[in-house]
């Protein structure tokens, strides 16, 4: 019975990882194609559907961690995926004014490269129980560059959207109301920007720790 469930678990995770992998491949393909044939301003419209699909599917990853399907702690996946969802839905989807910004190109290329490596790594692991060492090296080294370009693009796009957020009432709740509640999306976005300041170096250091752990382990087993 236990063997059956672990088989089922592997099958599900393999399908999940490869499905999201193809989502990100599409994002990268359409982004590069648009950049070559047209301009950075057209990138968003070209990648919108696969980007929203692949990024939203990452919510399942938080759930996988919560129910113990995978070992990655929720404290690591939640801020990473949460900030990406905020940019995907809360900024790019909600404020079309920033979609033609050139940072969208660097954003989706950084994200898709990282995720193509990551999902193929986990997809290999679940489907074949084997990962080539060069893929593992990429998985735990690409962040050195991709984190910097990705996070800078995220922060830059939120910053670029701030004036539009300030002039709009989108997602805002105003008093008076019976629940005595108010929510201001402008201040919430500023708070998100502020969280990036300690959050980014923290995640960077976390990944360096992961890298040390993973790469030293594989050297020992060789």
């Amino acid at each position: 019975m236990a063997g059956f469930f672990s088989g089922l678990r592997r099958l599900y995770l393999a399908i999940y990882n490869w499905l999201v992998f193809f989502g990100w491949v599409q994002v990268l393909y359409f982004a590069v194609k648009t950049l070559r044939e047209s301009s950075p301003a057209a990138v968003y419209d070209a990648v919108e559907k696969p980007l929203q699909f692949a990024q939203t599917a990452a919510i399942l990853e938080i759930l996988h961690g919560l129910v113990g399907l995978v070992r990655s702690p929720v404290s690591a996946t939640l801020p990473q995926i949460g900030s990406r969802l905020f940019v995907t839905w809360g900024i790019l989807h909600s404020f079309p004014e920033v979609r033609n910004h050139w940072l969208v190109s660097s954003l989706v290329i950084s994200w898709s490269l990282t995720e193509i490596i990551r999902y193929s790594f986990f997809g290999m692991k679940e489907a074949f129980g084997y990962t080539p060492s060069w893929l593992q090296w990429l998985r735990y080294s690409s962040f050195f560059v991709m984190y910097v370009t990705g996070i800078s693009s995220e922060v830059g796009l939120i910053y670029a959207a701030i004036p539009y957020i300030k002039n709009s009432d989108l997602y805002c709740v105003r008093m008076p109301n019976k629940l005595n509640f108010a929510f201001d999306y402008f201040y919430a976005s500023l708070l998100v920007l502020a969280v990036y300041v300690p959050g980014s170096p923290h995640m960077y250091m976390y990944m360096i720790g992961q890298r040390k752990k993973a790469l030293s382990k594989s050297r020992k087993s060789d």
Partner: protein
């Protein structure tokens, strides 16, 4: 008796080890370490026995003799040292936690702060906002006074970093709740609901105070802490009646003032206290298992009857 003090990675903390008399206690060892390394005062030290495998290491408790931990004369005794970081007394921690909300809340009530949030008009104060301010300040004044005159703490100190963490929690929530309850556009609930809320809250605060008196009497003054079966009043029904009354006290405040911020604080506080209560319940059940002449811990609710 020679004791060698090492770090978890095996590095020697005290060069050459420490010489102690054969009857030395854990306290003697700690003060000797303190003498050698001035910054490691006893409360900052955690001493354990070397751990060959995984699992929880054995902690050397204050007041016990070192001999009790080392069965035979093994020649050289080894203890593992961990620096717990700077420590503060629990009363200091509690004082700073509670003094923030006590002073931050009335600022929103008395001073024209809302003009800095974009509400320049003079605000009309509803009676419920006045009651809420007195209720709030009474609550935190009560907690500060209890800290100094009622509570007896089992552990003498807490890490300094907890002061910053807990103050962030209490002060921020205090400010956010004060902001919404004293807001110029605040909408009060019906008079009947206000009376029910504050009524429940006041009854629970009095009950909570009585719970704290009962808990105080469980510990002998100048004693070394240790656990007893709590009893009397609500403790005959609930293990952590002090948390129960605290939670219902906040529920009363929220019924009367009705803010999302207040209910959020209630939910977070309930979550935190429930974890503490479950841990305490488990500890008491394990400690008083009814074997070897130890009393058996009676069947009780943990924190929130009739649910838990």
């Amino acid at each position: 008796m020679k004791v060698s003090v090492v770090s978890r990675s095996g590095r020697e903390i005290i060069k050459g080890g420490i010489d102690l008399s054969d009857n030395a206690t854990v306290d003697d060892l700690k003060s000797s370490i303190h003498q050698r390394v001035k910054k490691y005062y006893p409360a900052r030290q955690r001493l354990t026995l070397p751990q060959p495998g995984k699992g929880k290491p054995v902690v050397l408790e204050r007041g016990k003799r070192l001999k009790d931990y080392f069965e035979k004369d093994e020649g050289k005794l080894v203890v593992v040292f961990k620096d717990l970081g700077p420590q503060v007394a629990y009363s200091t921690l509690f004082f700073w936690e509670y003094v923030g909300p006590l002073f931050i809340y009335p600022i929103f009530y008395y001073f024209p702060v809302y003009k800095y949030f974009g509400y320049p008009a003079e605000r009309v104060i509803h009676p419920v906002q006045t009651y809420a301010m007195y209720y709030w300040c009474f609550h935190y004044a009560k907690r500060i006074l209890e800290t100094f005159f009622v509570h007896r703490f089992s552990h003498a100190t807490s890490p300094l970093s907890n002061v910053f963490r807990n103050c962030c929690y209490y002060w921020t929530f205090g400010a956010v709740i004060a902001y919404f309850v004293n807001h110029p556009l605040y909408t009060p609930v019906s008079e009947k609901q206000i009376k029910i809320g504050f009524g429940l809250g006041i009854v629970c605060q009095v009950a909570n105070f009585y719970c704290h008196i009962l808990l105080r009497n469980l510990r002998i003054p100048g004693g070394k802490g240790g656990y007893q079966i709590p009893g009397g009043f609500l403790f005959n029904i609930v293990t952590c009646a002090n948390y129960t009354t605290e939670i219902y006290q906040w529920l009363g405040f929220n019924i009367a003032t009705q803010t999302v911020a207040g209910y959020t604080f209630l939910a977070v506080a309930t979550f935190i206290m429930t974890n503490w209560a479950l841990a305490k319940h488990r500890r008491l059940k394990k400690l008083f298992d009814g074997k070897d002449g130890r009393p058996k811990y009676p069947r009780r609710w943990v924190i929130l009857p009739p649910f838990l």
